[in-house]
Amino acid sequence: MTVSPTPLSPASLEVGGLAYAYPDGHQALFGVDLTIGRGERVALLGPNGAGKTTLVLHLNGILTGGAGTVTVAGLPVGKRHMAEIRRKVGIVFQDPDDQLFMPTVREDVAFGPAAAGVKGPELEARVHKALAQVGMADFADRPPHHLSFGQRRRVAVATVLVMEPEILVLDEPSSNLDPASRRELADILRSLDVTVLMVTHDLPYALELCPRSVILSEGVIAADGTTGDLLADEDLMRAHRLELPFGFDPKSVKV
């Protein structure tokens, strides 16, 4: 199922001809084109070193200066709209200990909106709503390092949801999660009414959550299609060092 964006609302994300070389000369992206319509959930698959994280860091303007364009909901990523872009693009980084830097869960979730000038009861209400969305409302006054890994990951998602983003970008969301936490996170992600771009190696997870997948390999988009079709294409998967877990047959799974 590929939701085609309605002509009136611009796509959540449009990446055109994006190329980037790190200052040390290593070229990580060689012209990436990717469009994600509003409300879509897309998995970004690719082997280690494919440039996935590099692409993610372009989405909210942390990395700039290469060729090509990135547009979020019609707004070009660049110096001029940086604050607005960072509000619209919510990135959940791989290690929740990097993402959660405040002394308590509540303050951490409040950080983004407070930096944008929200305060008082409105701030309180937004923090509560975001924590409730990820089922962590009872943990507001706990310090993040006293939570389990799965709980920290959920709080990390809340810190981004509280900004009411146009697109939620998750870097390896299922890494280090036990099966129960993995399923809880999947339930949460499925319940959200927001565009999602999920970077992952976890192919069953991609199949479970994302109708559409793209494969990033050696700095270009090598394939774009229904997740089921991509995972079933053994030659394609092998060519890009993507391996399904032992005994997992994507064709036998009913999504």
Binding site: D97, D98, M102, P103, T104, A110, F111, A116, D141, M163
Partner: protein
């Protein structure tokens, strides 16, 4: 797992002192210490009165005497220093139990001991009624340079993360049969410390990325604006004001 950043000095409670906004308590302790330090050392009764004031605060805060006294042990190094003074100081001497002691040194020792004890006691009272987190908010409120407050907050947040990393590295070393025993192993420990530094530095970079992604532009947003009413201020400042009266009497009498 305790709630909040309960540090060893903090004693959970709901006394009126616990309930005061942190910056009023910080200001009160700061003024109290200044007043105590500027009291003439000859006015011994004044120090007794200060102790009574602190005892009253401890009573209001429902901090038991035993708890307070145990935590006063931090000042043992000062005591040792004070005990030495009468022996080493110069000038006029008196004989006590057959030992010749310097009068000046005795006064100096008394000065360090009395003022040190009172200062430490006041700080312990502050720490046992205020959570670390609140203290930071209080410092922020008192317009301490924001960078200092940020550094302190990050130390609280990442102290455990880094200690944990250190523990994991130690386990990894020991699992491979390494036992630190003597100078010849310092090299390995130094390399571990270096690795820890690099890991912490890289974490710092990643945390910074995460902060920037959420709209950080150099200053921490104010999330909890602690504010104090006039009544709270006057309640907190009762301590230093009472102390000031004692101090002035000390100078006049």
């Amino acid at each position: 797992m305790g709630a909040g950043h309960a540090h060893k000095l903090y004693r959970h409670g709901h006394s009126p002192v616990h309930g005061l906004p942190p910056h009023t308590k910080l200001a009160a302790v700061f003024c109290f210490v200044i007043v105590v330090v500027s009291t003439p050392r000859e006015a011994m009764w004044a120090f007794a009165l200060y102790a009574v004031l602190l005892a009253a605060v401890a009573y209001a805060a429902r901090v038991p005497a035993g708890f307070l006294l145990k935590r006063l042990l931090i000042e043992i190094p000062f005591v040792a220093f004070a005990v030495l003074m009468p022996f080493v100081a110069q000038g006029e001497r008196v004989d006590v139990l057959g030992m010749s002691l310097s009068v000046n040194g005795l006064w100096g020792a008394w000065n360090v001991l009395a003022k040190g004890t009172l200062g430490v006691a006041a700080s312990v009272l502050l720490a046992s009624t205020t959570e670390l987190r609140e203290l930071l908010l209080g410092l922020q409120r008192l317009r301490l340079p924001p960078l200092l407050v940020q550094i302190a907050s990050f130390m609280i947040r990442y102290g455990d993360v880094i200690t944990d990393e250190m523990r994991r590295m130690k386990i990894a070393r020991e699992s491979r049969g390494f036992e630190a025993s003597g100078v010849k192993h310092w090299g390995v420990l130094a390399k571990s410390a270096g690795a820890l530094f690099i890991r912490s530095y890289e974490r710092g970079e990643r945390v910074h990325l995460a902060m920037v992604s959420r709209g950080y532009a150099g200053s921490m947003p104010v999330i909890d604006d602690v504010s104090a009413s006039r009544a709270q201020w006057s309640y907190a400042l009762t301590l230093p004001c009472a102390a000031l009266v004692v101090c002035l009497l000390g100078w006049l009498l």
